[in-house]
Subunit: 331 residues, 2 copies
């Protein structure tokens, strides 16, 4: 069981594990990605995961057996659980609610040996379409207000299993970071009557300094204000607030630029640990036409320390202009 | 040279190094605290640092020679520099300014072998008084609007030198995190006409569940909404927005509870990496009577991953009630 708790000062939410807490002796200060042993994400081991909730499969194969190319299962150790209602309540000054939500794992390939950058464009397209399918399915649940898709690659970026996978969390609350972006893009829109992301893209395409690559539907660039060294964003050229509305053609385009970008990062930074996240508009909660969905890739090359935690400022040792040059020029 | 850059979407600022950037080969993915060799913070090596800007010294000793018990020097590799004006300007959509600021290192003891928890209460009092002295000195510079005092202990918390030290950054801009706390405490105050931190303290003293220890002037507790496992806050009991106004008696009280709290964390978590930060009101920018200065200690036991970066939510595997129990009960 977990609880969602809201900070009375800043409004920040946390998810805290009440029933299976980590005790002092449980923390591993040198986390490693689990290697060897039996992999629960490999074909033939489907019974080691909870029953699948989505998959791209051979027509003749049955759920929870081999024959899949992408497979989604509930997380065996979920941060949030599907059971129960929201049950918001106060404890004196404090606010909390049950940890209701969905936490799923999208296994990107049956092949244990390859990472996301190694997948073919066709395989990656299927991964993107699986993200879309799970988003469309989960948004039917009226308790959820936001769907966050993210990936942790490498131990220091928080990955615990080696077999390449993406995670999806459906939340009863719109996350703080998304709210900040929504507020910022709404403010910009009401001032200029234009989308801040579209304007940013226009400036990047004109300056060319921070662009890594582009195709008909997407652009990949290092943003002018990156929190992390070699941080890279992928934006759809067509203004649209919802990732879930991506069509099949654009899913193929996204696969192309995602493979290209991840491959460049892998070569230049020698397979760095990274996180990526997809920011899309909330499920409900207004129309949010001012928003523009996008994907943010954050390599984890330095430690976030006291200055960052205390200020919310970030110190970045590599300018995005230099990072983009490296990423653009690599063969 | 560094630049301060402002994100046009969320208003987040970063500091980016323009002249001595890190290149792909410069990142060390397994950072370690430098050990062995000549320590620039040890007595006798005072010439290895920039000239000192403050110290607690024997009366007969001269600056930049031995004879000090606490010593403050400018950071040799500062994130921000003292030279020049602010020079705010736009580049198309984007905003930036020169990286003007101060970045100092407070060497807490001449003794290389001890960490902060090992210092005596008297030594720690002098460290606290040095924090105050540097705050009062730097706030005279009209370019600065905020002074952030923070500490990184252990490699994965961002420490690079072993000899125990605190850092201080004077900033031309009030940091985002502080603004969030100011806004939250102001909202609370305008609704209830009370300080949210004072109310929190009252509830903690009543509940007792999350309290670790207290003395006449300070309380140490695990907050109800901790981002990190074993996160611990120290609050002054007397409502006051400014750390810099701490008197000598209360500086001694803070030293007592700080030593007690750091020692408990050190024993229970076996010398964990941690950051601490002091949040105080901005130098200028209104009176901020609603605010209440405090110290936040954040052990670094888990990795911050895609979910946290994407949402601004935190997943905490240890409830503050359990963490406080461990910290309270340790001998």
């Amino acid at each position: 069981m977990s609880q969602l708790r809201r900070d009375p000062i800043t409004g920040r939410w946390i998810i805290v594990d009440i029933t299976n807490p980590k005790r002092p002796e449980d923390f591993d200060l040198k986390p490693q990605v689990k290697k060897g042993g039996v992999c629960p994400f490999c074909p033939g081991n489907e019974k080691m995961t909870p029953p699948e909730v989505g998959a791209k499969r051979n027509r003749r194969s049955k759920p929870d057996t081999p024959g899949w190319s992408v497979r989604t299962v509930p997380n065996k150790f979920p941060a949030l659980r599907m059971e129960g209602g929201l049950d918001k309540r106060g404890i004196g000054l404090y606010d909390m609610t049950n940890g209701v939500g969905a936490h799923e794992v999208i296994i990107e390939t049956p092949d244990h040996e390859r990472d996301m950058a190694d997948l073919t464009q066709g395989e990656l397209k299927n991964v993107v379409l699986q993200y879309r399918a799970r988003s469309l399915d989960l948004e039917k649940d009226k308790r959820f207000n936001y769907i966050l898709i993210f990936k942790n690659h490498g131990a220091s970026a928080g990955a615990s299993l080696e077999h390449t996978h993406t995670q999806l969390v459906a939340l009863p609350i719109v996350p703080k970071r998304v709210k900040e972006e929504l507020k910022g893009s709404t403010n910009y829109f009401s001032y200029r009557e234009r989308c801040v992301f579209c304007d940013m893209m226009a400036q990047e395409r004109q300056d060319k300094l921070r662009v890594i690559s582009e195709n008909k539907d997407f652009i990949s660039f290092c943003p002018f204000v990156p929190r992390f060294a070699f941080e890279t964003w992928i934006l759809p050229k067509l203004h649209n607030q919802n990732f879930k509305s991506i069509d099949n053609k654009r899913a193929a385009s996204l696969a192309v630029i995602l493979k290209d970008t991840l491959s460049r990062l892998k070569i230049v930074l020698k397979d760095p640990p990274y996180n990526f996240i997809i920011h899309t508009a909330p499920i409900r909660d207004g129309i949010n036409e001012e928003f523009h969905w996008h994907l943010e890739i954050m390599p984890k090359l330095t430690n976030v320390a006291g200055f960052e935690w205390g200020s919310g400022f970030y110190i970045n040792p590599t300018s995005p202009e230099l990072a983009a040059k490296y990423l653009r020029e690599v063969k």
